[in-house]
Symmetry: C2
Subunit: 252 residues, 2 copies
């Protein structure tokens, strides 16, 4: 039962941070995790996995990989799961140690900065989008939901495992951007149209909270605000859609 207790414990951000472990939940997330380089501590399965699409195949794959596996009842699984309709599989893995310095010295950079983005689904989609559009990293500033939250992992569709998504303090990020001469842009109303912007070789693009937009500390730091012209009838775009459109425009 050790893995069950651990999985339950890892639902708390503090525990994930302390243990440097996270939980990937559901068939798709665990499949992608097995394909990744991340170190897997163990897998928890429940009977309903056999009824899930690609469930039996995944069970076989787990057995082949000789991962430490514990079978629990549906009820026990539910006590550790974050999703409403759990598919009966979760894996515990080590949070990859990533560092801003791994991005130093490059000629070209595209960094997505999450400034207090709070919805785990949005953050997962943002990581997936940044990875898909060849951004080099996604940096989550304080106030942003934990990148290793199970719902973020699920929403990222496996991108969390290979894309350089990491947390950073604002000070560390700002120091890095300055040292590396990275232009710091913010997505906000009142900026110039992204289509009119002149792409730089190195850009970090900040997107803000779903309701409040960019924080004042980020707002003060950005050297360029970019906007997407939208219909007057709509207040804003979803943050992941907006980031996707801007990153697409700023592609290498």
């Amino acid at each position: 039962m050790r893995l069950l207790t651990l999985a339950r414990d890892l639902r708390r951000r503090k525990s994930r941070e302390k243990q440097a472990l996270f939980v990937a939940e559901g068939v798709r997330s665990v499949e992608e995790l097995l394909k990744s380089d991340l170190e897997i501590t163990g897998v928890l399965t429940a009977p309903q996995l056999d009824g899930a699409l690609r469930g039996p195949g995944l069970r076989e794959l787990i057995a082949q990989r000789h991962v430490d596996t514990t079978s629990v009842t549906e009820l026990e699984f539910r006590s550790a799961a974050e999703t409403e309709s759990p598919q009966g599989v979760l894996a515990i893995a080590a949070i990859p140690q990533r560092d801003l310095h791994s991005l130093a010295g490059r000629d070209h950079l595209r960094i997505l900065v999450l400034d207090a983005v709070q919805d785990p689904g949005n953050v997962g989609t943002l990581v997936r989008t940044a990875a898909a559009l060849d951004a080099d990293a996604t940096i989550a500033l304080p106030g942003t939901v934990d990148l290793w939250n199970a719902k973020v992992i699920r929403g990222s569709m496996g991108a969390s495992y290979h894309h350089h998504a990491m947390h950073s303090s604002a000070d560390n990020l700002f120091a890095f951007l300055e040292a590396e001469q990275v232009s710091f842009w913010g997505a906000d109303t009142g900026g110039i149209s992204v289509s009119d912007s002149v792409p730089q070789k190195k850009i970090a693009l900040a997107v803000g909270n779903e309701g409040a937009g960019l924080s004042s500390s980020v707002h003060e730091r950005v050297t360029q605000l970019v906007s997407l012209p939208i219909s007057a009838q709509v207040e804003s775009l979803n943050v992941a859609v907006a980031a996707g459109i801007i990153l697409y425009q700023l592609r290498k």
Copy 2:
């Protein structure tokens, strides 16, 4: 208690279709509904509304509008609510009667077609995105989640009330596109890059199911497949992000 029973009943799609009514849930959705032209049948409130952000202001606005209002207990409200943490306000309103023919005879058209998109959050974001990027309509083909599902309404952030989002059979849509000489495009891997596409004056763009992509019947009908070049490490973009990028490229 009539409104409470009605709200509970309207959680079923069949009931919404039969009564031509839908439910808008939460402070933001009800605020936007009060600003819209839609006919409001009544409002249900619960004590927790007073603790919600902008809740007391909304209560006042409802009173000013002389909308039929019923106060219920928190528990009763929960029995009608679709959300996990209901904010204590929902409104019942008439589903606006929209028709493909209202789009006939235009020189320029941008239509988003939802081909069995199943996640209500995605569909809400798609409606919001289409409205923000000045698409003229969003057409949901069979297999797509109900556009008047409370989670879709919530995700659309009010766009459902004014954007021409409507259901249609495939046959009716295809007949309309043919009669109006609208180019029918599909978003799918293996298409030409959207940046290389030659925009037409009238385009309907179909996006497919989150897992399966475009249905075979839509696939057979489209005259142009467009793709977004993405990293080989990522299987696909989220459907709303992909639609946002393509609609942005195809803007008037």
